[in-house]
């Protein structure tokens, strides 16, 4: 048995190397079955080590510094990275969605994170990095997925409905009136994975945060209560983010005089 640290069984370098043995086994399997995954597995494993150890070191330093400005700066960097990731994951999007994605992530991230830490968890002081950064990470990570899905579906559905959109605009519809059914379909699509996860949480799987807390020695009921807060927070963030992103972005497929830019009339490659 390893040494207990604050109720947690500490994992040292020998244990990490032992865990890496699983990947070695997968690598051998890949070689034997000619899957060609050895290089990707090796790179992914090294990245996992480097990124997570670096994260641990950074978080340790941030907790020690305990500065409001540092916490806010980290949040802004996280939000910018999330916005950048959204743009990459929506290849059919028109130019200029980086700005609206950034605004979406900023609003969603700050509103939901600080609502949870301030009103529900009641963190003291309000910027305490130990709470703010992990919670913001969950808010941004999950809403980013929903936002990317909703945006991708919005622009794909608009293209699929280009004939309907033309018919509606020809009758005098505004861009929103012509695009709203695509937006609704897309926002629903963005939310469905979160709703499905909520429906099966605790039955099919134990959510990650609850697992972590239980492993860290927390009372399972307290961990469950935290997890409920997290899942509701994630659902709210995904809904808010998807709605905001779609509302801020759909008009980029229309000209200023309200004409839908069908394929063939676009100056961008999408």
């Amino acid at each position: 048995m390893n040494e207990l640290a604050g109720g947690v069984i500490a994992i040292g370098w020998p244990q990490l190397l032992l865990a890496t043995g699983f990947i070695v086994v997968v690598g051998i399997l890949s070689l034997r079955l000619s899957l060609g995954l050895e290089k990707d597995l090796a790179i992914a494993t090294v990245r996992t080590y480097l990124q997570l150890i670096a994260l641990g070191l950074v978080l340790r330093w941030v907790f020690e510094v305990d500065s409001v400005w540092l916490v806010l700066a980290i949040l802004v960097v996280m939000m910018a990275a999330a916005a950048q990731s959204i743009v990459k994951r929506v290849p059919n999007a028109p130019p200029g969605i980086l700005g609206s994605s950034m605004l979406t992530m900023l609003l969603t991230g700050f509103v939901v994170t600080f609502s949870v830490t301030g009103l529900v968890v009641q963190v003291q002081p309000w910027y305490k990095a130990q709470y703010i950064i992990p919670i913001a990470g969950m808010v941004l990570g999950n809403s980013m997925n929903g936002v990317a899905l909703a945006l991708e579906r919005t622009f794909a559905d608009l293209d699929a409905r280009a004939g309907e959109v033309l018919a509606l605009t020809a009758l005098g519809a505004t861009p929103w009136e012509a695009a709203s059914s695509s937006a609704r379909v897309a926002i629903r699509a963005g939310l469905i994975p979160t709703i499905n996860a909520m429906a099966v949480a605790g039955i099919v799987f134990i959510p990650g945060m609850m697992t972590g807390q239980v492993l860290a020695g927390a009372d399972p009921l307290e961990a469950a209560q935290y997890q409920v807060v997290v899942m509701l927070m994630v659902a709210a963030a995904t809904a808010l983010g998807s709605v905001l992103a779609v509302l801020l972005s759909f008009h980029r497929r229309f000209t200023t005089d309200g004409t839908y830019l069908e394929k063939g009339y676009r100056t961008d490659p999408s």
Partner: protein, 221 residues
């Protein structure tokens, strides 16, 4: 003049290089006129209709309706008065009634009175659709029935100019005759119609124009 277009210009940019589709076209439509536009496939007939409906991105030129410049109106208001019926029929999920009343769900007609069921049924009968119930699922209509419902939807909104892109393509002779009769009634009530056609001659047109190499020329009545 009801509708005037001056110097309508549009250049497409296919992979083969810039292509002038509309080359400074000018066009006048008077109330009561039915003007047919003919031209080879790809000549730009649909593009011309879209330009007149203020629905062509990157086009230039000047449009006016009864002397009022398009730029003095909101684009949605222009399209309310100068309405395009695209070639591909677009009926939406729902009943025939839902489809006919879509225009009244739009902000541009927020203050207009909505046609009654009896008015809708009367209009349906005028285009040979008396047997089609207003409650019928629009997805179950035949191609010809759907085309007539789409045309009726536009005509019922009472535009001043109708821009029709192949309104009788894929219709049988009876359906095409009913569509032609509806268009003639619209024009005789003071509307103007510009039709893109390249199939049959139905004797409705008061003028026929030919679109070739980006230019319009009059080829006959």
């Amino acid at each position: 003049m009801l509708l005037s277009a001056e110097e309508l210009t549009y250049t497409a940019h296919p992979d083969t290089g810039p292509l002038i589709v509309l080359d400074a076209i000018s066009l006048d439509l008077a109330a009561g006129e039915i003007v047919d536009v003919r031209g080879a496939s790809g000549a730009g007939k649909t593009t011309l209709l879209r330009a007149l409906a203020w629905l062509l991105p990157h086009a230039s030129g000047m449009l006016s309706l009864s002397g009022r410049l398009a730029t003095e109106m909101e684009p949605t208001q222009w399209r309310r008065h100068v309405t395009l019926l695209p070639q591909v029929t677009s009926l939406f999920a729902g009943s025939v009634r839902d489809n006919l009343l879509i225009p009244w769900n739009l902000k541009v007609r927020a203050h207009d009175s909505v046609p009654s069921d009896s008015a809708l049924a009367r209009s349906m009968a005028e285009v040979g659709l008396a047997e089609v119930a207003l409650d019928r699922d629009a997805s179950q209509l035949s191609v010809g029935q759907a085309a007539r419902v789409a045309l009726l939807r536009v005509v019922l909104t009472g535009p001043e100019v109708l821009l029709l892109d192949e309104p009788d393509a894929n219709l049988d002779d009876d359906s095409a005759a009913q569509v032609a009769a509806l268009i003639e009634r619209f024009a005789s009530a003071g509307g103007a119609v510009l039709r893109v056609r390249h199939q049959r001659d139905d004797d409705s047109a008061t003028r026929t124009l030919q679109l070739q190499d980006g230019r319009l020329t009059e080829v006959g009545p």
